[in-house]
């Protein structure tokens, strides 16, 4: 009689259970948006809560990935920065959710501080991953960082001048913050694509594919926000707005599942069938 699963079975079952849980969360979110089963307040609270749960899931798994590495392991540094970045996003989601619940439309403010700060941590994590992978010289590394920052700055200014011509000062400020996300996401997406391509076929490619999903949803949000389509409550949500909120939740879950895949591999991968967990 078998008393326990093998490492491979545990790995498959863990990932399978996480996928089912993610689908259940998305289904719950979709039901809230489509059928509005509760009062307006509770629909809003539950939708925001699901988002916080998904963000916390991704951050918690990133922390677990960090903890799987030994103290002297280089990749541990990547995941420490990455996990902190994701916890900052959790904080941002909590603040934004509360503000949205209490005020309705949320202006750029304290939540954005956390979101923007998180990008610095992601940038640092990706920089370390790049250094481990490419092993560039110090000069070469700084050269590429400067070129990347210059490129992003030029792109940001270009988009800013295109989208803010003829709008009022408040809209200019709003656009300056909201444009940061797609530009930063473009940066993350290009590195995530590069990493996913390098790790193609391996368990380590999956977190970067999750990061890629975020870039698309943030671009989607930027478009909705600038075009004024986005609605700020579940009960008034239009199709595009609902679609964004669900895909945004999905992006967190895809990122979380990608991270979970790496964690499962670090914990159970490459074990011989007879070895203990």
């Amino acid at each position: 009689m078998r008393l326990e699963w093998s490492a491979k079975e545990t790995s498959v079952r863990t990932r399978g259970a996480a996928k089912i849980a993610a689908l259940v969360l998305i289904a719950m979110d979709a039901i809230i948006y489509v059928t509005e089963p509760f009062s307006e307040i509770w629909n809003d609270i539950l939708a925001k809560l699901l988002l916080v749960v998904a963000a916390s899931f991704a951050a918690a798994v990133a922390t677990l990935v960090w903890a799987r590495y030994e103290k002297t392991d280089e990749p541990r540094r990547i995941w420490s920065w990455f996990a902190v970045g994701l916890w900052l996003w959790v904080a941002a989601e909590l603040i934004w959710g509360y503000a949205n619940f209490s005020q309705g439309k949320v202006s750029e403010g304290i939540a954005d501080v956390f979101w923007v700060a998180a990008y610095l941590f992601f940038g640092q994590a990706l920089l370390i991953q790049y250094r481990i992978l490419v092993q560039p010289s110090k000069r070469g590394l700084w050269g590429r960082v400067v070129v990347a920052i210059l490129f992003l700055f030029v792109l940001y200014m270009l988009l800013y001048s295109l989208l803010t011509s003829g709008v009022d000062a408040q809209s200019q400020y709003s656009a300056s913050v909201n444009l940061f996300y797609p530009v930063a996401d473009l940066f993350l997406a290009s590195i995530a694509l590069w990493l996913a391509r390098h790790f193609r076929g391996g368990a380590f490619s999956r977190p970067w594919l999750g990061l890629l999903a975020f870039s698309f949803t943030d671009l989607f949000f930027a478009w909705l926000e600038i075009s004024g389509i986005y609605s700020w409550s579940v009960d008034q949500a239009n199709l595009w707005s609902a679609l964004f909120d669900i895909t945004y939740l999905g992006a967190y879950l895809i990122l979380g599942l990608g991270l979970l895949s790496q964690w499962v591999f670090l914990k159970y991968g490459l074990r011989s069938p007879t070895s203990a967990h």
Partner: protein, 324 residues
Amino acid sequence: MPDFSAFIPETHRNISSGYVETLIQARREELFTGVLRLSYSSGENLMFTFLEGVQQKLYRCLENCIEALPRQLWFDVLNRSSTSAGFLPLPVEAVRFVRSACEAPVVGVDRSTLPPQEWIGLARKWSVEQEPSVIHIQSHLVNKYCLIAGHATPIMEELFFVGNGVRFSMADTSFSQTLPQADLLVTRYVSNREHDAWREYELRLAFGPLLRMLLNRFGELAGRALTGRLCERLSIWAAEGGWNVAISSNGIVNRHYFGTFESAVRFYVELIRCFQSEASLALGARMIDGISRDVLIKLDPYRRELLLRHLYSQSGVGGVTGVM
């Protein structure tokens, strides 16, 4: 090569061919690893190498040359009386050394008597030359053989004859500094590196750094815990295949005796394939190919060419094109 078997102490005299068979059977049963010498009144010496009780090779040692006898002749050459015999237990590394020293062809011999100071420079010169050599160093204090692969191979294997025993060691090419302060009779048997014995030896020495660097790089990307598990998987795979090697994050401890160069190549190719298939589960096949390419580029051109020619040119060992 001179009669290499002369260093094996004699333990049995005037024995019959039947008793020789009994002695051989006893070595089989005790899983003996080492060499067995049979001397005949004609002056001919035969030398068997054993590995865990299994006879590997039979050499006929004449005054100035050694020849390996094919298996089908073993019965005929042993079927003689008036024999004396002797044994010398050796570690497996020394049995491999004996194979290289006995089978490598000799294309030239240099003899000189030197003080140790001059010998240091000479040894360094030979270690960077293209042709490999077997060196015999004698004085009243020392008697040892060394294998110098040439081409700046940093490792040198040595076989010391001490009393009735033998000590095997691996040293770097600065070995000569450890020799005693006495004039040395140094005989250099220049060999031909195209012979299978040298090719196997060179490939073994080149494969060690390759695998160590591959595992180091894997560890940098995937962490030490996963690297440890990868090494465990590779070691289990090798043990299941009957190969006497252990793999750790420090590289390979290769204690396997390869009877032929082809069998050694087959093993290394299979090990690389196994590494690639296991490691790519974590990092992806593309990354593993990239790691292999980077590691090969870091090796010196001679050993890189050796590994590419014998291992990476084999189908299914991954894409490392563009390294040359």
